[in-house]
Amino acid sequence: MDDERLRELYEGCYGRLIGQLFAVCGDLAEAEDVVQEAFVQGLTKRRQLGQVDNPEAWLRTIALNVARNRFRRTVRLRQLLRLQPRPVTLPGLSPDRIALVDALRRLPLDQREAIALRHIADLSVREIAETLGIPEGTVKARLSRGRQRLAPLVHEFVDDPQTEEHHV
Protein backbone atom coordinates (compact mmCIF):
# COMPACT_ATOMS: atom_id res chain seq x y z
CA MET A 1 0.00 0.00 0.00
CA ASP A 2 1.49 3.35 -0.98
CA ASP A 3 2.02 6.13 1.52
CA GLU A 4 -0.86 8.28 0.32
CA ARG A 5 -3.42 5.48 0.54
CA LEU A 6 -2.04 4.47 3.91
CA ARG A 7 -2.43 7.97 5.29
CA GLU A 8 -5.97 8.22 3.93
CA LEU A 9 -6.86 4.90 5.52
CA TYR A 10 -5.35 5.91 8.85
CA GLU A 11 -7.00 9.33 8.99
CA GLY A 12 -10.29 7.93 7.78
CA CYS A 13 -10.79 4.98 10.05
CA TYR A 14 -8.74 5.54 13.21
CA GLY A 15 -11.51 7.53 14.88
CA ARG A 16 -14.24 5.10 13.84
CA LEU A 17 -12.32 2.16 15.24
CA ILE A 18 -11.77 4.03 18.50
CA GLY A 19 -15.53 4.52 18.89
CA GLN A 20 -16.27 0.88 18.10
CA LEU A 21 -13.57 -0.55 20.36
CA PHE A 22 -14.53 1.81 23.19
CA ALA A 23 -17.90 0.05 23.30
CA VAL A 24 -16.10 -3.31 23.43
CA CYS A 25 -13.38 -2.34 25.93
CA GLY A 26 -15.39 0.08 28.08
CA ASP A 27 -12.29 2.18 28.58
CA LEU A 28 -10.83 4.85 26.30
CA ALA A 29 -7.17 4.20 27.12
CA GLU A 30 -7.68 0.48 26.48
CA ALA A 31 -9.46 1.20 23.19
CA GLU A 32 -6.60 3.48 22.10
CA ASP A 33 -4.02 0.79 22.93
CA VAL A 34 -5.99 -1.83 21.06
CA VAL A 35 -6.57 0.25 17.93
CA GLN A 36 -2.97 1.45 17.80
CA GLU A 37 -1.76 -2.11 18.22
CA ALA A 38 -4.03 -3.15 15.34
CA PHE A 39 -2.45 -0.51 13.11
CA VAL A 40 1.07 -1.51 14.18
CA GLN A 41 0.24 -5.12 13.40
CA GLY A 42 -1.29 -4.13 10.07
CA LEU A 43 1.72 -2.00 9.16
CA THR A 44 4.02 -5.00 9.65
CA LYS A 45 2.03 -6.63 6.83
CA ARG A 46 1.77 -3.59 4.61
CA ARG A 47 1.64 -5.51 1.35
CA GLN A 48 -1.27 -7.62 2.58
CA LEU A 49 -2.97 -4.49 3.89
CA GLY A 50 -2.86 -3.10 0.37
CA GLN A 51 -4.38 -6.19 -1.17
CA VAL A 52 -7.40 -6.87 1.03
CA ASP A 53 -10.82 -5.76 -0.19
CA ASN A 54 -11.66 -3.89 2.97
CA PRO A 55 -8.61 -2.76 4.96
CA GLU A 56 -10.74 -1.16 7.67
CA ALA A 57 -12.58 -4.43 8.28
CA TRP A 58 -9.26 -6.27 8.37
CA LEU A 59 -7.88 -3.85 10.96
CA ARG A 60 -11.07 -4.08 12.99
CA THR A 61 -10.74 -7.87 13.14
CA ILE A 62 -7.18 -7.54 14.43
CA ALA A 63 -8.33 -4.99 17.02
CA LEU A 64 -11.09 -7.30 18.24
CA ASN A 65 -8.59 -10.16 18.62
CA VAL A 66 -6.30 -7.93 20.66
CA ALA A 67 -9.18 -6.72 22.83
CA ARG A 68 -10.37 -10.27 23.42
CA ASN A 69 -6.89 -11.40 24.46
CA ARG A 70 -6.40 -8.49 26.82
CA PHE A 71 -9.89 -8.82 28.32
CA ARG A 72 -9.20 -12.40 29.39
CA ARG A 73 -5.91 -11.46 31.02
CA THR A 74 -7.36 -8.38 32.75
CA VAL A 75 -10.41 -10.10 34.22
CA ARG A 76 -8.33 -12.93 35.67
CA LEU A 77 -5.89 -10.46 37.19
CA ARG A 78 -8.66 -8.40 38.74
CA GLN A 79 -10.23 -11.51 40.21
CA LEU A 80 -6.90 -12.60 41.65
CA LEU A 81 -6.26 -9.19 43.18
CA ARG A 82 -9.92 -8.71 44.17
CA LEU A 83 -9.90 -5.28 42.56
CA GLN A 84 -13.06 -3.24 42.15
CA PRO A 85 -14.27 -2.48 38.64
CA ARG A 86 -12.41 0.54 37.29
CA PRO A 87 -14.42 3.80 37.07
CA VAL A 88 -15.56 5.20 33.73
CA THR A 89 -12.90 7.77 32.79
CA LEU A 90 -14.23 9.44 29.64
CA PRO A 91 -14.62 13.11 30.59
CA GLY A 92 -17.85 14.92 29.91
CA LEU A 93 -20.15 11.90 29.96
CA SER A 94 -23.63 12.44 31.32
CA PRO A 95 -24.89 10.10 34.05
CA ASP A 96 -26.98 8.24 31.43
CA ARG A 97 -23.93 7.61 29.32
CA ILE A 98 -21.89 6.49 32.32
CA ALA A 99 -24.64 4.03 33.14
CA LEU A 100 -24.56 2.82 29.52
CA VAL A 101 -20.79 2.24 29.62
CA ASP A 102 -21.18 0.34 32.87
CA ALA A 103 -23.99 -1.76 31.40
CA LEU A 104 -21.87 -2.53 28.33
CA ARG A 105 -19.00 -3.64 30.55
CA ARG A 106 -21.31 -6.06 32.32
CA LEU A 107 -22.37 -7.74 29.11
CA PRO A 108 -20.49 -10.91 28.20
CA LEU A 109 -17.72 -10.00 25.78
CA ASP A 110 -19.33 -11.85 22.86
CA GLN A 111 -22.55 -9.86 23.23
CA ARG A 112 -20.61 -6.62 23.53
CA GLU A 113 -18.74 -7.36 20.31
CA ALA A 114 -21.97 -8.14 18.46
CA ILE A 115 -23.69 -5.00 19.75
CA ALA A 116 -20.73 -2.76 18.83
CA LEU A 117 -20.40 -4.25 15.35
CA ARG A 118 -24.12 -3.99 14.63
CA HIS A 119 -25.13 -0.74 16.26
CA ILE A 120 -21.96 1.32 16.01
CA ALA A 121 -20.06 -0.12 13.05
CA ASP A 122 -23.38 -0.73 11.19
CA LEU A 123 -22.31 -4.16 9.97
CA SER A 124 -24.97 -6.57 8.74
CA VAL A 125 -25.54 -9.83 10.57
CA ARG A 126 -23.71 -11.60 7.78
CA GLU A 127 -20.74 -9.26 7.98
CA ILE A 128 -20.58 -9.75 11.74
CA ALA A 129 -20.66 -13.53 11.24
CA GLU A 130 -17.74 -13.28 8.82
CA THR A 131 -15.78 -10.95 11.11
CA LEU A 132 -16.15 -13.19 14.14
CA GLY A 133 -16.10 -16.52 12.28
CA ILE A 134 -19.42 -17.68 13.71
CA PRO A 135 -22.77 -18.66 12.17
CA GLU A 136 -25.38 -15.98 11.57
CA GLY A 137 -27.76 -17.61 14.04
CA THR A 138 -25.21 -17.16 16.80
CA VAL A 139 -24.84 -13.49 15.89
CA LYS A 140 -28.58 -12.96 16.14
CA ALA A 141 -28.82 -14.67 19.51
CA ARG A 142 -25.96 -12.58 20.91
CA LEU A 143 -27.50 -9.39 19.53
CA SER A 144 -30.90 -10.15 20.97
CA ARG A 145 -29.57 -11.02 24.42
CA GLY A 146 -27.35 -7.96 24.49
CA ARG A 147 -30.18 -5.69 23.38
CA GLN A 148 -32.49 -7.13 25.99
CA ARG A 149 -30.02 -6.28 28.74
CA LEU A 150 -29.33 -2.78 27.42
CA ALA A 151 -32.98 -1.94 26.67
CA PRO A 152 -33.52 0.25 29.75
CA LEU A 153 -30.66 2.48 28.64
CA VAL A 154 -30.98 2.45 24.87
CA HIS A 155 -34.17 3.87 23.43
CA GLU A 156 -34.05 1.96 20.13
CA PHE A 157 -33.85 -1.36 22.01
CA VAL A 158 -37.10 -0.91 23.87
CA ASP A 159 -39.65 -3.60 22.98
CA ASP A 160 -42.97 -1.81 22.92
CA PRO A 161 -45.78 -4.32 22.17
CA GLN A 162 -48.16 -1.42 21.66
CA THR A 163 -46.38 -0.35 18.51
CA GLU A 164 -45.69 -3.75 16.89
CA GLU A 165 -46.66 -4.19 13.30
CA HIS A 166 -48.64 -7.30 12.58
CA HIS A 167 -48.20 -8.58 9.06
CA VAL A 168 -51.40 -10.56 8.63
Binding site: R7, Y10, E11, Y14, G15, R16, G19, Q20, F22, A23, L28, E32, E37, Q41, L43, T44, Q51, V52, D53, N54, A57, N65, V66, N69, V75, R78, Q79, P85, L93, D96, R97, A99, L100, D102, R105, R106, P108, I120, R126, E130, G133, I134, P135, T138, A141, L143, S144, R145, Q148, R149, L150, P152, L153, H155, E156, D159, P161, E164, H167, V168
Partner: protein
Protein backbone atom coordinates in the same frame (compact mmCIF):
# COMPACT_ATOMS: atom_id res chain seq x y z
CA UNK B 1 -28.34 9.79 16.94
CA UNK B 2 -28.67 6.55 18.93
CA UNK B 3 -27.23 6.41 22.42
CA UNK B 4 -24.57 3.91 21.36
CA UNK B 5 -23.44 5.95 18.38
CA UNK B 6 -23.40 9.08 20.51
CA UNK B 7 -21.22 7.28 23.05
CA UNK B 8 -18.87 6.10 20.30
CA UNK B 9 -18.67 9.61 18.86
CA UNK B 10 -17.80 11.08 22.28
CA UNK B 11 -15.00 8.55 22.69
CA UNK B 12 -13.76 9.23 19.17
CA UNK B 13 -13.77 12.99 19.63
CA UNK B 14 -11.58 12.74 22.73
CA UNK B 15 -8.94 10.55 21.12
CA UNK B 16 -6.85 12.40 18.53
CA UNK B 17 -4.81 9.91 16.48
CA UNK B 18 -1.07 9.77 17.19
CA UNK B 19 1.26 10.66 14.36
CA UNK B 20 1.26 7.89 11.76
CA UNK B 21 5.06 8.00 11.79
CA UNK B 22 5.02 6.88 15.45
CA UNK B 23 3.09 3.73 14.57
CA UNK B 24 5.27 3.15 11.51
CA UNK B 25 8.36 3.27 13.72
CA UNK B 26 6.81 0.75 16.11
CA UNK B 27 5.96 -1.59 13.26
CA UNK B 28 9.51 -1.40 11.86
CA UNK B 29 10.95 -2.15 15.32
CA UNK B 30 8.56 -5.09 15.59
CA UNK B 31 9.69 -6.51 12.23
CA UNK B 32 13.37 -6.14 13.20
CA UNK B 33 12.75 -7.90 16.53
CA UNK B 34 10.94 -10.79 14.84
CA UNK B 35 13.72 -11.24 12.33
CA UNK B 36 16.27 -11.33 15.16
CA UNK B 37 14.24 -13.92 17.06
CA UNK B 38 13.75 -16.02 13.91
CA UNK B 39 17.47 -15.97 13.11
CA UNK B 40 18.36 -16.84 16.71
CA UNK B 41 15.91 -19.74 16.64
CA UNK B 42 17.37 -21.01 13.36
CA UNK B 43 20.92 -20.84 14.70
CA UNK B 44 19.91 -22.66 17.87
CA UNK B 45 18.28 -25.41 15.82
CA UNK B 46 21.39 -26.12 13.75
CA UNK B 47 23.98 -25.60 16.47
CA UNK B 48 25.77 -28.72 17.67
CA UNK B 49 24.21 -29.46 20.99
CA UNK B 50 26.65 -29.23 23.86
CA UNK B 51 26.36 -31.26 26.98
CA UNK B 52 25.81 -28.79 29.74
CA UNK B 53 25.01 -29.56 33.32
CA UNK B 54 22.40 -27.12 34.51
CA UNK B 55 21.36 -26.19 37.97
CA UNK B 56 17.70 -26.72 38.87
CA UNK B 57 17.04 -22.98 38.53
CA UNK B 58 18.56 -22.88 35.07
CA UNK B 59 16.42 -25.80 33.93
CA UNK B 60 13.22 -24.00 34.88
CA UNK B 61 13.23 -21.72 31.84
CA UNK B 62 10.13 -20.01 30.49
CA UNK B 63 8.96 -21.10 27.03
CA UNK B 64 10.78 -19.44 24.16
CA UNK B 65 8.49 -16.55 23.10
CA UNK B 66 9.32 -17.24 19.49
CA UNK B 67 7.62 -20.62 19.72
CA UNK B 68 4.47 -19.37 21.41
CA UNK B 69 2.80 -18.07 18.28
CA UNK B 70 4.26 -20.43 15.68
CA UNK B 71 2.09 -22.52 13.45
CA UNK B 72 0.78 -25.67 15.14
CA UNK B 73 2.33 -28.76 13.62
CA UNK B 74 -1.06 -30.30 12.91
CA UNK B 75 -4.76 -29.67 13.27
CA UNK B 76 -4.83 -32.40 15.91
CA UNK B 77 -2.19 -30.56 17.95
CA UNK B 78 -4.10 -27.28 17.58
CA UNK B 79 -7.45 -28.71 18.66
CA UNK B 80 -5.84 -30.42 21.65
CA UNK B 81 -3.90 -27.37 22.80
CA UNK B 82 -4.78 -26.34 26.37
CA UNK B 83 -5.92 -22.95 25.04
CA UNK B 84 -7.88 -24.25 22.04
CA UNK B 85 -11.46 -22.99 21.73
CA UNK B 86 -14.45 -24.27 19.83
CA UNK B 87 -15.90 -21.63 17.50
CA UNK B 88 -18.74 -23.46 15.75
CA UNK B 89 -20.08 -26.93 15.00
CA UNK B 90 -22.41 -28.10 12.22
CA UNK B 91 -24.12 -31.43 11.62
CA UNK B 92 -23.67 -32.99 8.19
CA UNK B 93 -25.50 -35.73 6.32
CA UNK B 94 -25.08 -39.28 7.53
CA UNK B 95 -24.52 -38.42 11.18
CA UNK B 96 -21.24 -36.65 10.40
CA UNK B 97 -20.23 -33.24 11.76
CA UNK B 98 -17.64 -30.52 11.35
CA UNK B 99 -16.26 -28.36 14.17
CA UNK B 100 -14.10 -25.26 13.87
CA UNK B 101 -11.37 -24.90 16.52
CA UNK B 102 -9.04 -21.99 16.98
CA UNK B 103 -6.09 -21.05 19.08
CA UNK B 104 -4.82 -17.50 19.59
CA UNK B 105 -1.45 -16.67 21.12
CA UNK B 106 0.69 -13.53 21.33
CA UNK B 107 4.48 -13.56 21.35
CA UNK B 108 4.41 -10.33 23.29
CA UNK B 109 1.58 -9.24 25.63
CA UNK B 110 1.47 -5.93 23.78
CA UNK B 111 1.15 -7.58 20.38
CA UNK B 112 -1.94 -8.70 18.56
CA UNK B 113 -2.37 -12.44 19.01
CA UNK B 114 -1.73 -14.78 16.11
CA UNK B 115 -4.68 -17.09 15.57
CA UNK B 116 -4.70 -20.48 13.88
CA UNK B 117 -7.74 -22.58 13.09
CA UNK B 118 -8.51 -26.12 12.08
CA UNK B 119 -11.66 -27.98 11.08
CA UNK B 120 -12.25 -31.21 12.95
CA UNK B 121 -14.59 -33.40 10.92
CA UNK B 122 -16.17 -36.76 11.51
CA UNK B 123 -16.70 -38.99 8.52
CA UNK B 124 -16.84 -42.74 7.98
CA UNK B 125 -13.09 -42.78 8.63
CA UNK B 126 -13.46 -41.30 12.10
CA UNK B 127 -12.40 -37.86 13.34
CA UNK B 128 -9.77 -36.07 11.29
CA UNK B 129 -8.41 -32.52 11.13
CA UNK B 130 -7.55 -30.08 8.38
CA UNK B 131 -4.14 -28.49 8.28
CA UNK B 132 -3.88 -25.41 10.52
CA UNK B 133 -4.57 -22.13 8.74
CA UNK B 134 -4.17 -18.54 9.88
CA UNK B 135 -7.70 -17.56 8.92
CA UNK B 136 -11.24 -18.35 10.00
CA UNK B 137 -13.26 -20.24 7.40
CA UNK B 138 -16.93 -19.31 7.53
CA UNK B 139 -19.14 -22.40 7.34
CA UNK B 140 -22.74 -22.02 6.18
CA UNK B 141 -25.59 -24.39 6.97
CA UNK B 142 -28.02 -24.13 4.10
CA UNK B 143 -30.95 -26.47 4.38
CA UNK B 144 -29.55 -29.87 3.45
CA UNK B 145 -26.25 -28.42 2.28
CA UNK B 146 -23.20 -27.21 4.14
CA UNK B 147 -20.46 -25.21 2.50
CA UNK B 148 -17.92 -22.60 3.46
CA UNK B 149 -15.49 -19.96 2.31
CA UNK B 150 -12.00 -18.81 3.18
CA UNK B 151 -10.64 -15.32 2.69
CA UNK B 152 -13.75 -13.90 1.08
CA UNK B 153 -12.77 -10.32 1.96
CA UNK B 154 -9.07 -10.74 1.28
CA UNK B 155 -7.09 -10.73 -1.92
CA UNK B 156 -9.34 -12.26 -4.58
CA UNK B 157 -6.55 -14.69 -5.51
CA UNK B 158 -6.82 -16.27 -2.05
CA UNK B 159 -10.55 -16.90 -2.00
CA UNK B 160 -11.47 -20.53 -1.54
CA UNK B 161 -14.64 -22.56 -1.57
CA UNK B 162 -15.17 -25.34 0.96
CA UNK B 163 -17.70 -28.08 0.23
CA UNK B 164 -18.34 -31.31 2.07
CA UNK B 165 -18.37 -34.67 0.31
CA UNK B 166 -19.26 -37.65 2.49
CA UNK B 167 -18.36 -35.60 5.53
CA UNK B 168 -14.93 -34.54 4.24
CA UNK B 169 -14.16 -30.88 3.49
CA UNK B 170 -12.84 -30.30 -0.01
CA UNK B 171 -11.31 -26.90 -0.82
CA UNK B 172 -11.03 -25.33 -4.23
CA UNK B 173 -9.98 -21.88 -5.45
CA UNK B 174 -13.03 -19.71 -5.96
CA UNK B 175 -13.27 -17.43 -9.01
CA UNK B 176 -16.23 -15.27 -10.00
CA UNK B 177 -16.89 -13.88 -13.45
CA UNK B 178 -19.97 -13.12 -15.50
CA UNK B 179 -23.59 -13.70 -14.67
CA UNK B 180 -26.18 -16.38 -15.27
CA UNK B 181 -29.84 -17.12 -14.71
CA UNK B 182 -29.41 -20.91 -14.71
CA UNK B 183 -28.43 -23.07 -11.74
CA UNK B 184 -27.89 -26.44 -13.40
CA UNK B 185 -25.82 -28.65 -11.12
CA UNK B 186 -24.39 -25.61 -9.38
CA UNK B 187 -24.88 -24.32 -5.88
CA UNK B 188 -26.48 -20.96 -5.12
CA UNK B 189 -24.23 -19.44 -2.49
CA UNK B 190 -24.15 -16.09 -0.78
CA UNK B 191 -20.71 -14.65 -1.43
CA UNK B 192 -20.29 -11.57 0.77
CA UNK B 193 -23.86 -10.44 0.15
CA UNK B 194 -24.14 -11.40 -3.53
CA UNK B 195 -25.79 -14.58 -4.76
CA UNK B 196 -23.61 -16.57 -7.10
CA UNK B 197 -23.96 -19.93 -8.83
CA UNK B 198 -20.89 -22.02 -8.11
CA UNK B 199 -19.76 -25.16 -9.89
CA UNK B 200 -18.61 -27.19 -6.88
CA UNK B 201 -16.27 -29.32 -9.04
CA UNK B 202 -14.22 -26.36 -10.27
CA UNK B 203 -14.93 -23.47 -7.89
CA UNK B 204 -15.93 -21.25 -10.81
CA UNK B 205 -18.84 -18.96 -10.03
CA UNK B 206 -21.11 -16.56 -11.84
CA UNK B 207 -23.38 -13.90 -10.40
CA UNK B 208 -26.97 -15.07 -10.24
CA UNK B 209 -29.48 -12.84 -11.98
CA UNK B 210 -32.80 -13.13 -10.21
CA UNK B 211 -36.18 -11.94 -11.54
CA UNK B 212 -36.67 -8.27 -10.69
CA UNK B 213 -39.26 -8.94 -7.99
CA UNK B 214 -36.96 -11.36 -6.16
CA UNK B 215 -33.71 -9.40 -6.07
CA UNK B 216 -31.67 -9.37 -2.80
CA UNK B 217 -33.66 -12.00 -0.91
CA UNK B 218 -33.64 -11.96 2.83
CA UNK B 219 -33.38 -15.74 3.13
CA UNK B 220 -32.83 -18.66 0.79
CA UNK B 221 -32.56 -22.41 1.26
CA UNK B 222 -31.94 -25.65 -0.56
CA UNK B 223 -33.90 -28.81 0.19
CA UNK B 224 -33.30 -32.46 -0.55
CA UNK B 225 -35.70 -32.40 -3.53
CA UNK B 226 -33.24 -30.11 -5.31
CA UNK B 227 -35.38 -27.02 -4.90
CA UNK B 228 -33.94 -23.57 -4.11
CA UNK B 229 -36.38 -21.31 -2.32
CA UNK B 230 -36.25 -17.81 -0.96
CA UNK B 231 -38.45 -15.36 0.90
CA UNK B 232 -38.96 -11.86 -0.49
CA UNK B 233 -41.77 -9.30 -0.60
CA UNK B 234 -44.47 -11.51 0.92
CA UNK B 235 -43.60 -14.36 -1.42
CA UNK B 236 -41.93 -17.69 -1.07
CA UNK B 237 -40.41 -18.29 -4.48
CA UNK B 238 -38.75 -21.49 -5.54
CA UNK B 239 -36.92 -22.93 -8.50
CA UNK B 240 -35.19 -26.13 -9.47
CA UNK B 241 -33.22 -24.72 -12.42
CA UNK B 242 -32.92 -20.99 -11.80
CA UNK B 243 -34.97 -20.09 -14.87
CA UNK B 244 -38.49 -21.04 -13.85
CA UNK B 245 -39.73 -19.61 -10.56
CA UNK B 246 -42.95 -20.48 -8.73
CA UNK B 247 -44.25 -17.92 -6.26
CA UNK B 248 -46.45 -18.65 -3.25
CA UNK B 249 -47.99 -15.86 -1.20
CA UNK B 250 -47.04 -15.71 2.45
CA UNK B 251 -48.36 -13.60 5.29
CA UNK B 252 -45.04 -12.19 6.40
CA UNK B 253 -43.07 -9.64 4.43
CA UNK B 254 -39.71 -10.94 5.61
CA UNK B 255 -38.70 -13.33 8.32
CA UNK B 256 -35.56 -13.01 10.36
CA UNK B 257 -35.56 -16.71 11.29
CA UNK B 258 -36.87 -19.84 9.62
CA UNK B 259 -36.64 -23.61 9.74
CA UNK B 260 -37.58 -26.22 7.19
CA UNK B 261 -37.66 -29.98 7.13
CA UNK B 262 -35.00 -31.66 5.06
CA UNK B 263 -37.28 -32.06 2.04
CA UNK B 264 -38.73 -28.56 2.45
CA UNK B 265 -42.28 -29.80 2.98
CA UNK B 266 -42.69 -28.17 6.41
CA UNK B 267 -41.53 -24.59 6.81
CA UNK B 268 -41.67 -22.17 9.75
CA UNK B 269 -41.39 -18.42 9.29
CA UNK B 270 -41.49 -15.64 11.87
CA UNK B 271 -44.22 -13.04 11.63
CA UNK B 272 -41.79 -10.17 11.71
CA UNK B 273 -38.53 -9.06 10.17
CA UNK B 274 -37.29 -7.62 13.46
CA UNK B 275 -35.35 -10.18 15.51
CA UNK B 276 -35.97 -8.24 18.70
CA UNK B 277 -39.74 -8.35 18.81
CA UNK B 278 -41.98 -11.19 19.90
CA UNK B 279 -45.22 -10.85 17.95
CA UNK B 280 -47.26 -13.60 19.57
CA UNK B 281 -47.56 -15.78 16.45
CA UNK B 282 -45.65 -17.37 13.59
CA UNK B 283 -46.39 -18.97 10.20
CA UNK B 284 -46.26 -22.66 9.30
CA UNK B 285 -46.66 -24.48 5.99
CA UNK B 286 -47.04 -28.27 5.69
CA UNK B 287 -47.05 -28.36 1.86
CA UNK B 288 -43.80 -26.73 0.76
CA UNK B 289 -45.12 -23.21 1.02
CA UNK B 290 -48.37 -23.47 -0.94
CA UNK B 291 -50.65 -22.85 2.06
CA UNK B 292 -49.96 -21.38 5.46
CA UNK B 293 -51.45 -21.32 8.94
CA UNK B 294 -50.88 -18.87 11.76
CA UNK B 295 -49.73 -20.47 15.01
CA UNK B 296 -50.32 -18.46 18.17
CA UNK B 297 -47.59 -17.94 20.76
CA UNK B 298 -49.24 -16.43 23.86
CA UNK B 299 -45.80 -16.03 25.49
CA UNK B 300 -44.77 -13.46 22.85
CA UNK B 301 -41.20 -14.64 23.07
CA UNK B 302 -38.56 -13.67 20.56
CA UNK B 303 -38.35 -16.97 18.73
CA UNK B 304 -35.45 -18.50 16.88
CA UNK B 305 -36.50 -21.66 15.04
CA UNK B 306 -33.94 -24.44 15.42
CA UNK B 307 -35.57 -27.39 13.63
CA UNK B 308 -38.88 -28.60 12.24
CA UNK B 309 -40.02 -32.03 11.09
CA UNK B 310 -42.78 -33.19 8.80
CA UNK B 311 -44.98 -34.39 11.68
CA UNK B 312 -45.22 -30.72 12.68
CA UNK B 313 -42.97 -30.96 15.73
CA UNK B 314 -39.78 -28.99 16.10
CA UNK B 315 -37.56 -27.03 18.45
CA UNK B 316 -37.40 -23.32 19.10
CA UNK B 317 -35.25 -21.08 21.28
CA UNK B 318 -36.48 -18.10 23.24
CA UNK B 319 -33.35 -16.10 22.72
CA UNK B 320 -34.09 -13.29 25.12
CA UNK B 321 -34.45 -15.64 28.11
CA UNK B 322 -36.95 -13.17 29.45
CA UNK B 323 -38.60 -15.76 31.64
CA UNK B 324 -37.27 -17.76 34.54
CA UNK B 325 -36.21 -20.73 32.46
CA UNK B 326 -33.20 -23.00 32.41
CA UNK B 327 -32.08 -23.37 28.86
CA UNK B 328 -34.40 -21.56 26.48
CA UNK B 329 -34.75 -24.49 24.05
CA UNK B 330 -38.36 -25.62 23.76
CA UNK B 331 -40.25 -28.33 21.91
CA UNK B 332 -42.89 -27.45 19.36
CA UNK B 333 -45.85 -29.83 19.50
CA UNK B 334 -47.54 -31.25 16.40
CA UNK B 335 -50.18 -28.52 16.56
CA UNK B 336 -47.45 -25.85 16.64
CA UNK B 337 -47.82 -24.91 20.29
CA UNK B 338 -44.60 -24.26 22.17
CA UNK B 339 -44.32 -26.63 25.10
CA UNK B 340 -41.77 -28.09 27.47
CA UNK B 341 -38.03 -27.63 27.40
CA UNK B 342 -35.96 -30.04 25.39
CA UNK B 343 -33.42 -30.48 28.20
CA UNK B 344 -32.70 -28.67 31.43
CA UNK B 345 -29.05 -29.21 32.20
CA UNK B 346 -27.00 -26.80 30.13
CA UNK B 347 -27.31 -23.67 28.06
CA UNK B 348 -26.93 -24.41 24.36
CA UNK B 349 -26.03 -21.88 21.73
CA UNK B 350 -25.55 -21.88 17.99
CA UNK B 351 -27.88 -24.82 17.49
CA UNK B 352 -27.91 -26.28 13.99
CA UNK B 353 -29.96 -29.14 12.60
CA UNK B 354 -29.73 -31.61 9.75
CA UNK B 355 -32.68 -33.98 9.51
CA UNK B 356 -33.27 -35.53 12.91
CA UNK B 357 -29.82 -34.52 14.14
CA UNK B 358 -29.20 -31.40 16.15
CA UNK B 359 -25.95 -30.09 17.54
CA UNK B 360 -25.19 -27.06 19.68
CA UNK B 361 -22.34 -25.46 21.60
CA UNK B 362 -22.51 -25.97 25.36
CA UNK B 363 -22.11 -22.43 26.60
CA UNK B 364 -22.38 -23.27 30.26
CA UNK B 365 -24.61 -24.75 32.92
CA UNK B 366 -28.33 -24.12 32.78
CA UNK B 367 -29.30 -20.52 33.47
CA UNK B 368 -31.53 -20.37 36.51
CA UNK B 369 -32.77 -16.80 36.45
CA UNK B 370 -33.89 -14.30 33.86
CA UNK B 371 -31.33 -11.99 32.28
CA UNK B 372 -30.59 -9.22 34.81
CA UNK B 373 -31.77 -5.75 33.85
CA UNK B 374 -29.11 -3.07 34.41
CA UNK B 375 -30.10 -0.73 37.23
CA UNK B 376 -27.35 1.81 36.89
CA UNK B 377 -25.61 0.65 40.07
CA UNK B 378 -22.16 -0.76 39.35
CA UNK B 379 -21.90 -4.44 40.16
CA UNK B 380 -18.91 -6.76 40.14
CA UNK B 381 -17.78 -7.88 36.72
CA UNK B 382 -19.06 -11.32 35.77
CA UNK B 383 -16.53 -14.15 35.95
CA UNK B 384 -14.55 -14.93 32.82
CA UNK B 385 -16.50 -17.57 30.97
CA UNK B 386 -14.71 -20.84 30.41
CA UNK B 387 -13.70 -21.49 26.80
CA UNK B 388 -16.31 -23.49 24.92
CA UNK B 389 -15.06 -27.00 24.25
CA UNK B 390 -18.14 -29.24 24.48
CA UNK B 391 -21.08 -29.80 22.16
CA UNK B 392 -24.41 -31.45 22.74
CA UNK B 393 -25.60 -33.79 20.00
CA UNK B 394 -29.03 -35.31 19.53
CA UNK B 395 -29.87 -37.80 16.79
CA UNK B 396 -33.54 -38.15 17.76
CA UNK B 397 -34.92 -34.65 17.36
CA UNK B 398 -33.81 -33.29 20.69
CA UNK B 399 -35.22 -36.05 22.88
CA UNK B 400 -31.85 -37.32 24.10
CA UNK B 401 -28.58 -35.42 24.09
CA UNK B 402 -25.01 -36.54 24.53
CA UNK B 403 -22.07 -34.31 25.37
CA UNK B 404 -18.64 -34.66 23.84
CA UNK B 405 -15.68 -32.62 22.71
CA UNK B 406 -15.54 -32.67 18.88
CA UNK B 407 -11.81 -33.33 18.58
Amino acid sequence: MSELKDLAWQAQSQSPPPELETLLARSRARVRRRRFVAVAASLAAIAVPAVVVLSQQERDVTPDPATLAVRPRSGHELAHSPDAQLVSVLPLAGGNWVALWNRCRAQDPEEAPVCWSTMAFKSASGVEFTEPADDFPVLEPHGDLTYGFRNVHDDVKNRRLIIFENGRPIERPLTVSGTTTAVGDGLILNLAGKLVVVDPRTGRAQGLVLPADLGSPNRYRHDSTGRWWLVKNRKLAWTADGRTWTRESIATKQSWTDASSLDGRTILLHNHDDPYKGTGSYQRSRDSGKTWETIQDPNKWVLQFEAVFNDGTGLVTDITLRNAITTGLYRIAADGAIGAESQTQYALGSIESHGDTLVGLVEGPAITSPSPVPTGTPTPLPPTPEPIRKVALSTNRGVDWQLFEPR
